[in-house]
């Protein structure tokens, strides 16, 4: 679906509130300030997905949107490999950068993703009065395009275009660069837009 300027603004505001809560939790976990970007919204044709996400490797902690909706799309905590190591080093009190990712890193990332995405969805649920619960997380450290295209292939409807809502969260002190990406299924998106539009109507 195409979003109007007003709808885009509303979705950006929603992303803003969700990401701000996620940023707060990240900031508490690393004990440092976390900056967030203005949430970006992109409608991407699946044929062009490779222009936005390549074969570079990154860690992704993925949650399916559940709750009042089933198979509502996905929320993804995305972090580059280098940032992932810096993040877990910070949390685990390590300093060695040139090391392979191990199980400790993976469970730490899973936990960080869990906390951040829960905060993101709690905040958006409160605003919308509509509960989107995260599924248990799944994690992969692999080519970004491979992971994202697999998620799109598994979305409920046979989709040719996806809307990606992403907010960049960075921590300058520890050089951590990450993103929270929401990729709602079409019906979920339509429902969120409807709720947002109802909120903006004069009483």
């Amino acid at each position: 679906m195409k979003l109007s300027a007003v709808q885009t603004d509303a979705m950006q505001e929603l992303g803003n509130i969700g990401a701000a809560h996620a940023a707060t939790t990240l900031s508490q976990m690393v004990g440092s300030t976390v900056q967030m970007s203005v949430p970006g919204i992109k409608a991407v044709d699946i044929a062009d997905l490779g222009k936005y996400m390549g074969e570079e490797s990154a860690a992704m902690v993925v949650f399916e949107l559940q709750g009042e909706i089933q198979h509502g799309g996905f929320v993804i905590f995305y972090i580059t490999r280098e940032s992932a190591i810096r993040l877990t080093n910070t949390m685990l009190g390590l300093t060695e950068m040139n090391r392979p990712m191990n199980e400790m890193d993976e469970s730490a990332l899973l936990e960080v993703g869990n906390i951040m995405v829960s905060a993101f969805l709690d905040a958006t649920a409160e605003l919308l009065g509509f509960v989107m619960l995260p599924s248990p997380p799944a994690m992969t450290i692999d080519m970004v395009h491979a992971a994202m295209s697999s998620l799109i292939a598994g979305m409920g409807d046979d989709t040719d275009e996806v809307l990606l809502f992403s907010t960049e969260l960075t921590c300058e002190e520890h050089k951590i660069d990450s993103d929270i990406i929401m990729m709602p299924e079409a019906k979920t998106l339509a429902h969120i837009i409807e709720l947002l539009e109802n909120m903006m109507k004069p009483a």
Partner: protein, 163 residues
Amino acid sequence: MHDLPTPEGQTAMIGIGEYRVGSYPMMTIGLGSCIGLTLYDDTVKVGAMVHIMLPDSAGRTDRPGKYADTAIDLLLKELTKLGCKNRSLVAKMAGGASMFEYFGANLNIGERNAVSVRKWLKENNIKLAAEDVGGKVGRSVTFTPSNRGKITVRRADGTNCEL
């Protein structure tokens, strides 16, 4: 958008649901559950590559390259126009991984894609000469028809192989 000629020496990047036919180098990056399928005819020295996402078109015709059944039909039509015969075509494929085991709706799409490709190739009497499918790993594939249909697969875990 699908059949633009590619300038000499450049590699054509093939996105999800897209395909190319010719003798220039072609590439699909970041295959997860998707499949990169190539057909090559050594007598005519041309080939085709397609980036398949789902096993079955269920009657949809607007993006033939996206589904295993319609993609194979489409490639055969295009290759026949260039003088290729089914019996001299050789198929190879890579991808069909299962990146996330947990999600219900995601179950086995990669595997179902591979099964469907094999079925439609068989139906058309095309020989499947090699495959690198399954597992949990992302793959990028380069295809060079001019180099006797050479296929190189680069896996996300750092290993490479030739098909």
